[in-house]
Symmetry: C2
DNA sequence: TCATTATGTTCGCTATAAGAACATTAAAAT
DNA sequence: ATTTTAATGTTCTTATAGCGAACATAATGA
């Protein structure tokens, strides 16, 4: 059964003002959680009058508030799908297993999915550490820079992978970031052999992560199970031995739980 | 500094098609995560042609997918503000403290905020239990039926509380649900004296919960700290003694963390 | 005080978005 | 297998919704 995702919608079937309004929500990011009208207009490349109308609509509907200078999101924004996404069966099954893993390793762990050239963090189990990575559910990072991206790209068909490599812009974040498509392909091929990936300080200096695939009952990779941590806390060796074992075990438990 | 939330926006400043499009997203709920075109049109009270255009726009923009019959949300929906909300300072500070609490009590706990006549669950720390309550971040329940609602209503000014009681419809969910506004006011007044609330099986039989307020550095109540659990697991007495002590301690730790 | 920046408002214009009606496809009933 | 019913897709008309330009007002900075 083919899934229709990003096909071209005929211009008559596309509601431009709806899409533009959504863009206004999207420019509120972790880096810019509060913005003035002019900042929003600039960020969205709209006129002030247009941006203002969308913002006022969001305020009227309760999704945003304004202190007469800055606009900011309100919790009602969670009505826009989050509860649905987070209640999907896979995360219901995965959550307690991930929490056991987080407790055992004393680190946060995440379930991650691929979306276009990025990965999105879709579920989390937290540890009680104060120093943690600045990633939360909903965070989005470029797939080429993290281990979960590598695992998810490895699960694509060869055709899909080549398409990604054709189109993706491999932005350099640290001296470690792989920006060569040939080298990245080689790393992904290795990930295919290994069945896991460790990526060291390619997104940010000091951030190391390990990932394994999460498979559903049919054996299809539906997410990556990911554990990022400050590189000072767990050595590369320990990650490749003790942590990897725990991650593989948890991943298999999630798959088993999806078979019931 | 007054905060402008739900004022009337002049009709020229309100983008109706944007608001209608958002409504299409909102009808996808935990109960109805997948829907056909006709179901969406009925749920939103729109013509099929209009609902179809919004759905196709969402598919084109990557927020939804369709299998040629049902539409369903994709993880990109998390771009619509979730990451921002979840990264606000208060939850950054609260998360490790809540996780310690969850580990200690071996139960999930939540931070909860009031919105109109409902409460929304805005942060969560999970336990590794398999049997857990069916609440997740983004869940919304009527304020009058849960302990967090009671704590948050208790923190309103008398004027705001009377307005709530005037307008709210106290729907009955179980034989225990308080539907008398006089009785609810009396319970809230008691909560004001106690500084905490326990609510027993008023939303759902078998669901008991306890809440305390979370205050910011200025002493203003900004959320409730809430622990719901199956009523068979923790007795009323244990909740009022051991659990309450732990919740109060965690709440004070969060407030202290917000002072830095 | 003046200059600059940001926000608010008005208004004319046009093309966007809505809905009605028709066409096609799929599913259910006989 | 055929017919009926239900669901989805498409087209087209048209009113007005939404846009942006320009002007007005308010706030901030020099």
């Amino acid at each position: 059964m083919p899934t229709k995702t990003k096909e071209e919608t005929s211009s008559r079937d596309y509601v431009n003002s709806f899409a533009r309004g959504l863009e206004v929500i999207r420019v509120f990011t972790r880096a810019k959680p509060r913005m003035t009208l002019s900042e929003v207009a600039k960020a969205t490349d709209m006129t002030r009058a247009t941006a203002r109308r969308f913002l006022l609509t969001l305020v009227q509907e309760g999704y945003m508030e304004s202190d007469n200078k800055h606009f900011m999101l309100r919790p009602k924004i969670l009505d826009l799908g989050y509860s649905v996404l987070s209640s999907m069966e896979i995360w219901d099954v995965a959550q307690p297993i991930m929490q056991q893993l987080a407790d055992k390793l004393q680190e946060c762990c995440f379930a991650v999915v691929l979306q276009e050239h990025s990965v999105i963090y879709t579920a989390r189990a937290t540890s009680n550490r104060y120093v943690s990575v600045g990633i939360s559910v909903g965070s989005r990072v470029p797939a080429h820079t993290v281990s979960s991206g590598r695992v998810l790209l490895a699960a694509l068909s060869e055709e899909e992978l080549l398409k990604y490599l054709d189109e993706a812009e491999l932005v350099k974040y640290t001296p470690n970031t792989i920006t060569s498509k040939v080298k990245l392909k080689s790393e992904i091929d290795q990930t295919r052999l290994d069945g896991w990936a460790i990526v060291d300080q390619e997104l940010e200096i000091g951030l190391r992560s390990i990932s394994v695939p999460i498979k559903d009952a049919t054996g299809r990779v539906v997410a990556a199970l990911n554990m990022p941590c400050p590189s000072a806390r767990i050595s590369f060796d320990e990650m490749r031995t003790r942590v990897l074992t725990e991650l593989m075990t948890a991943s298999n438990q999630i798959t088993a739980g999806l078979m019931r």
